[in-house]
Symmetry: C2
Subunit: 395 residues, 2 copies
């Protein structure tokens, strides 16, 4: 048994972690655009990356050097350093060599980037910026703000987990999301810090398992970017490890951040849980739930707060999973509008369903009546703001 | 050898075909919403239908009765008669029985519907409306307008094909499209008439083959509806059949209508050909080209006339096909912006590429450098109008 509580501090909540964000001149108007996370002792590190075949230079750099331990992560926004080839990797090596020259305590520093694809990093701005870092700063808010691109608010969580013995460990995390979010590894960056003594060989499996129902279950626009990264840094300073408690806390951190990312989807006004049950199996439930988060017709109906259940049905039918109109049930929150062949959509039901849709967060429940498979995916609506943000992103 | 020329007349251009459209009261403001196509002799008929597992009642009716010949097609807009179960099929039987009672010459009449999913047909309006039909009318424009939903203009083509012998046959077609268009059978209705004597056993294969690079190569919003239908009616009145000439004319008719559908995608301001070459094989080229037509980030960049080639690259990388940044080339029209690892995107190139994007129609060319596979898919941009139309479609 263990207990868990939210604590302040974001990625600096665990013992021995430091973070800050500064303005290196990549974003206009002096906004923060470069961050670091540092541990005062060496961390084991593991990461899971985008399924995109054109993985960005930071990912290629991480893999090239076979990084398994580090005490420093440098993150920049506004430039993804993707599609930049070998030169993009060399740029990172140069920047991190400079960082080590300035701060000799750094060991195997790594880098992570997000922003526009296909532009070389402005190396001088980054190297000049990192010279101003105060490595003893504990400004998790500044770090979380610095990694934002089109996010409208920073995304952080931290928990303290206390075991039956009274001993405790901490986990902290920050993420950026907004657009280009897809279940095939949500397009985003997420950094998790912990002072739990997580065995190095368990870290990747823990991340993968946690991502399955969190970052891999959300969609903003169905695009999978070149830079997606979820990184776990463990410095073991609590000297504690309780697998179940840690897995629970990690999942909770990832789940909360995932929901924040959907709720802050570009132009999103609603966060909707598509709860699919009764599928042939869990895989088909996931396919169906994710198809619902992707459908433009569903997303625009959400935006219009229109309980257009026909579009939900049509999307299920087009998703390729085993389904039948005579076994299907569709409900908006607790309001069933279609029940195994019977349309329950009179004026009264429509008004009730529309009321559910006016909430900021609600569930659309679809039971396929084909088996025991279940999966919940999280999506958002698509409105004018999304178009505005994305039609004019680079300028 | 044969020659082909455009002629007026739409679905009435071939000998013996009649069509009209009337207002039956389904659309507000007295707009036309019900059409018929009739042949004065019995036609062989074949159709290809949506891949959606929840096929609408008109499709189920067509299959239930094993229709292979008919002389009358009734089409309505505004109500899809989908998700209406056995009652929806019975509604069609009742309406068509009424039609036969009013017009005894009808044989095996069939029905096709488009519009909102999940609402029973207003039978009285339809039966009252069809009593007003003048079966000797040749008003293809009225028919083409009556089947529109969110289309902003009617879509018709007709060709006369003259063989070396001097003899000729005709083919005419009308379609409705607009939203819910996906490569897995574009969401749409299309009716093709011909006086060519097409062998009944070749009709379906001709439709399938024609659809592959036309209706199955376009996307407006990636949704596959419950009602998609492409129907071919052949009354053989020219007593002529030349397979190559007919296949060519059919493909041409379907291709022109497909491009009209994309250009008239909901809120679309541009029609873009995504020409993928150098793929491992044609299948991978098609997957990649269709992924580009689906990407929201690409679609909004098109709307913003922003030559954001990084999003093109990212979408290719995420499409799952064999690709490598060092063999990839990307061009907007004739302007190459990325050439096998080299970014050619300076201010001058960007200006040139942006100029290409300001056109109403242009090509984005992606060579994967992996093989000989090629496919061209057609897509449109996504702008504010799409959101407006779809957030408030039912009302």
């Amino acid at each position: 048994m263990f207990t868990m509580k939210s604590i302040p501090g974001g990625v600096c909540a665990p013992e021995g972690f430091y973070a800050d964000g500064i303005a290196a001149g990549l974003k206009p108007n002096g906004q923060k655009d470069m961050a670091f996370i540092r541990s005062d002792t060496l961390c084991d590190v593991a990461a899971i990356f985008t399924a995109n075949r054109f993985q960005a230079a930071p990912i290629r750099h991480f893999k090239k050097h076979g990084i398994t331990q580090t005490n420093f992560v440098l993150v920049n926004a506004k430039n993804a350093n993707a599609m930049t080839g070998e030169a993009g990797v060399a740029d990172i090596e140069e920047i991190l060599a400079h960082a080590k020259a300035v701060f000799p305590s750094l060991e195997n520093p790594v880098m992570s980037s997000t922003g526009v694809i296909g532009v070389r990093l402005p190396k001088e701005k980054l190297t000049a910026g990192l010279e101003t870092f105060d490595l003893t700063a504990k400004n998790p808010d500044a770090a979380a703000r610095a990694i934002m691109t089109t996010d409208s608010y920073d995304k952080q969580v931290a928990f303290e987990v206390t075991l039956e013995t009274g001993e405790s460990f901490r986990i902290g995390a920050m993420a950026k999301g907004a657009g280009m979010i897809d279940p095939a590894m949500a397009t985003m960056l997420c950094f998790v810090t912990t002072d739990a003594a997580v065995p190095a060989d368990e870290m990747k499996a823990l991340l993968r398992s946690g991502a399955e129902t969190t970052f891999n279950a959300i969609s903003v626009d169905g695009d999978t970017s070149t830079n997606d990264t979820v990184m776990l840094l463990s410095n073991g300073q609590s000297a504690l490890y309780h697998r179940e408690a840690f897995a629970h806390a990690l999942h909770k951190a990832m789940h909360e951040l995932a929901l924040m990312i959907v709720a802050d989807g570009e132009g999103a006004t609603k966060c909707v849980a598509f709860e699919v049950t009764g599928a042939k199996n869990d895989e088909e439930a996931a396919i169906c739930a994710k198809a619902l988060t992707h459908s433009l017709l569903v997303k625009t109906a959400l935006y219009g707060e229109d309980p257009n259940w026909g579009r939900i049905a049509s999307t299920i039918g087009a998703s390729g999973v085993q389904c039948d109109p005579t076994t299907l049930t569709i409900a908006f929150g607790g309001v069933t509008v279609y029940d195994r062949g019977t349309i329950l959509f009179d004026a009264e039901t429509e008004a009730k369903a529309a009321k559910v849709m006016r909430k900021k967060a609600f569930a659309i429940r679809c039971d396929l009546g084909q088996g025991d498979g279940a999966f919940t995916a999280y999506g958002c609506d698509l409105g004018h703001e999304y178009v505005k943000i994305n039609a004019d992103y680079r300028t």
